[in-house]
Every structure is written in C-alpha cells, then in structure tokens.
Symmetry: C2
Subunit: 227 residues, 2 copies
C-alpha cells in the first residue's frame, strides 16, 4: 500500500535556487536541496527538467541557493514558485549579488546563501539531480528562522507547485472532511486551491480581508472550481 | 568564503534507515532522506560507506525509512545513531515489521514509514546516495510531529554523528562566547560534548537531574575534556 499522506511526514526546507548570469538569470522555489557528503562537503539540488533554471544550470555548471525565512514576502514565493522564467524576468528588481561563477544570488528575505559548482548531473525521471561542491556560504541574517516546507504548508497554507519533486496530486490524498457539498476555489493569480475538504472553514465564511496564502491576492480574485 | 554555520540553515528531517533481513538487520539515524522526483515518486537516501547498513542496502537492494517524532526516546537515537551494527544487534528488542522485500521496519516512536527499492547507487565521496522507488508508505501515528534536525539540535541539543553527511567539525564553527576559561565535558556513554562556549550555562551549574540530551546518561557520567 502506498499512502501518499505519509510522504508529507518527510521534512524539507524552502529555498530559491538560481542560475544564469547578469544578463540572463532565473531561479525557482525548491524544497530539495541538501548536503549529501561530509568531506569534502557535497550538495544535491533537484530541478524539474522543464524548468528554465535547469537549462541555465546545465549551461553554467553552477547555481546559488538562498535560504529564505519564515516571514518571506508571498510575492517572492509567487514570483519564483509559480511563474515561469520563460515568460517573465524573475530577477528584475530583485536585490542581487553575483557569485564567483557569475550566477545571481537572491538576497531578498535571505538568511543565508550558498554557491555551488556542479560536478555530476543525474537523471531521475521528471527531474535532474545536480551534485555540487561548495564554493561559498554565508549567513546574512541570523535573527530569523529558516522557512521549512512544513511551515509553508501548515502556517502559510502553500502547496508544492506542479514542477516540484514533492508535488502530490491532491486527489491521491485522504480528504479531512469528505462531504459531498465541499467546494474548491482557485486563486486566479497563482493557481492556489482553497479546498474546503482540507480546511476547517468554508470559503464563504473567511473574513473579507483574507488573502491568498501563496501570492497575497484578495479573496475576490478567487473563483469556484467546477468539477 | 565558506562559513560553515551557514550550512546549519539547511533544513532536514530525522529518520531511522534500516536494511537487511530477519536474521541480519541494521539501521542508522539519517537526516538525509528526501523525494527527488515526482512521477514516479523517487527518493534518495545518503549512507556513509563505513556504515554496516550501507553493506546491507547494497546486498538487499532495499531499505526502510522510519519517520520518528519529536518525543523520541533518547535511547533509540543513541542505539541507532551512536552505536555500530558491527558491534551490537541494533534490532534486538525493537518493535519491528518486515517489508515486501524482507527489510526490517522499526516501529518504535514511528509516525510513518516507507519501504524503498534501490534503482541506482551513486558514489558521492564519503557516502553512497541510493536512488530508490517507493514500494509502500504508511502513516502510523498522525498525532505527533516529525522530528527535524533543527529540533534535535536546538531542543534536544544533539549533534550530527561523525558518519553523517552533515557532520561539521566544531572547530570550524564560530564560538558563541569565546572565553578562555570555557570547558568541555564529554558523555562517556555516547560521546556527546557539552561545550560551555556553545551554551548559556556552566556545566557545573546544570541541575543534578540533568541528563545527556542524546542518550539520557546522568550528569555524573560526563568527564571534562582536557585540551
């Protein structure tokens, strides 16, 4: 038996993984970055093959990782997590520095960053896993906690975007309150779904100043999802 | 510049990764298990080449993962994290079930478990990274929170054992209170170091009923470390 809810018990952080250079930079929200070996320190980052950042990492052989904090601006998560770098320039207006390899490093809502050089690329189905060595690492703000995937899901009510390794089709999850009259509402800005079967409160009963937990859009920008 | 403290901003869970069979089973405390691809769901586990569990995973081509909760018995962490399966039978007396592949699954302090079949083994220096597909996953106890590495370090005061991918030589870290008269005390049972430079309270001032945060040994079992 595969119980998909069990996969939510695995712990992850939340990061912006960026690559490219001064003229063409891009990044995406990642929850799969981790140290895989101690001496020398080696790291792994997973990136969907369709992501523009994948192309840039393969071109440059390098990437940066921004560890974001728990109070990160929803717009930042929306920009890097739910938009495509093929359509918008995600780095425009961002607070950036450039690494030793020339890759952009996002400093907005950043508590620490790392710069890594790829030494091996592994094909893992929908994703590439980039194995990389550490070029530099620095703490930027030691006063805030790192955002974790659990915090993002529970407190900020975010869900993994479709391109994440941990994306789970919600139809595979056990509904909390299986009731035939539960409805779903979609944020027309970022695609976030408010699913009454997963919540304790009806969408209509949410306060008027409630905003999309992912991108900050107003309640009025949600539309009911017809099955 | 490489600032090693920055690596502590990466988020991890804490798991028991087990392998072997009914007659020869073993497991170790791992903080590096994660999903790396979405469809089909693929996972990666990192295991030090010197670990006995590495040998068993290579022999059986399979492993189980126990997600442990925040109130996990320190003895369990000590047994699986700080002892060698070459010396003791770690599975003796444990609450076990056996997976489809025959690997043991530890159910003590377990909130969820997974069983995985290795499809690729990658050499990453000190560690093997096992890429694996999911055979089964199940929630055992949905009332408790998953232990995270941060929780273990901050609340339980644990440190990565030497065989962990995230082991960091403490001499590379910036001391919190660099004072020449700070002392260090070592747990003679598990090797945990109480370093006054990293703490807010002198060892001598700890209450008499204070116990080792890793293995639960009494204060009297600590000895001063002479430099």
């Amino acid at each position: 038996m595969i119980q998909f809810d069990a996969l939510f018990k695995i712990s992850y952080g939340l990061y912006i993984v960026s690559s490219g250079n001064k003229s063409h930079g891009n990044g995406f929200i990642s929850n799969t970055f981790f140290q895989v070996s101690a001496e020398p320190p080696l790291f792994a980052a997973c990136c969907n093959k369709d992501n523009y950042t994948s192309t840039l990492i393969r071109e440059t052989g390098a990437f940066s990782v921004t560890v974001i904090h728990t109070e990160t601006d929803p717009d930042l998560i929306n920009r890097f997590g739910y938009k495509s770098g093929k359509e918008i320039n995600k780095m425009e207006g961002m607070k950036l520095k450039y690494g030793e390899t020339g890759v952009p490093i996002v400093l907005n809502d950043c508590i620490a960053f790392l710069e890594c050089k790829v030494i091996q690329t592994i094909d893992v189905g929908t994703h590439y896993m980039f194995i990389a060595e550490l070029l530099q690492s620095e703490i930027v703000d030691d006063t805030k906690d790192a955002m974790t995937y659990l915090y993002y899901r529970q407190i900020r009510k975010g869900l993994a975007p479709k391109n994440a390794p941990t994306y789970i089709d919600k139809s595979k999850l056990a509904a909390k309150i299986p009731a035939s009259d539960n409805k779903k509402y979609e944020c027309t800005e970022c695609g976030y779904i408010y699913d009454e079967a997963e919540e304790d409160i009806r969408f209509a009963d949410l306060p008027d100043d409630w905003v999309c937990p992912v991108c900050g859009s107003e309640k009025s920008e949600f539309v009911e999802v017809k099955n």
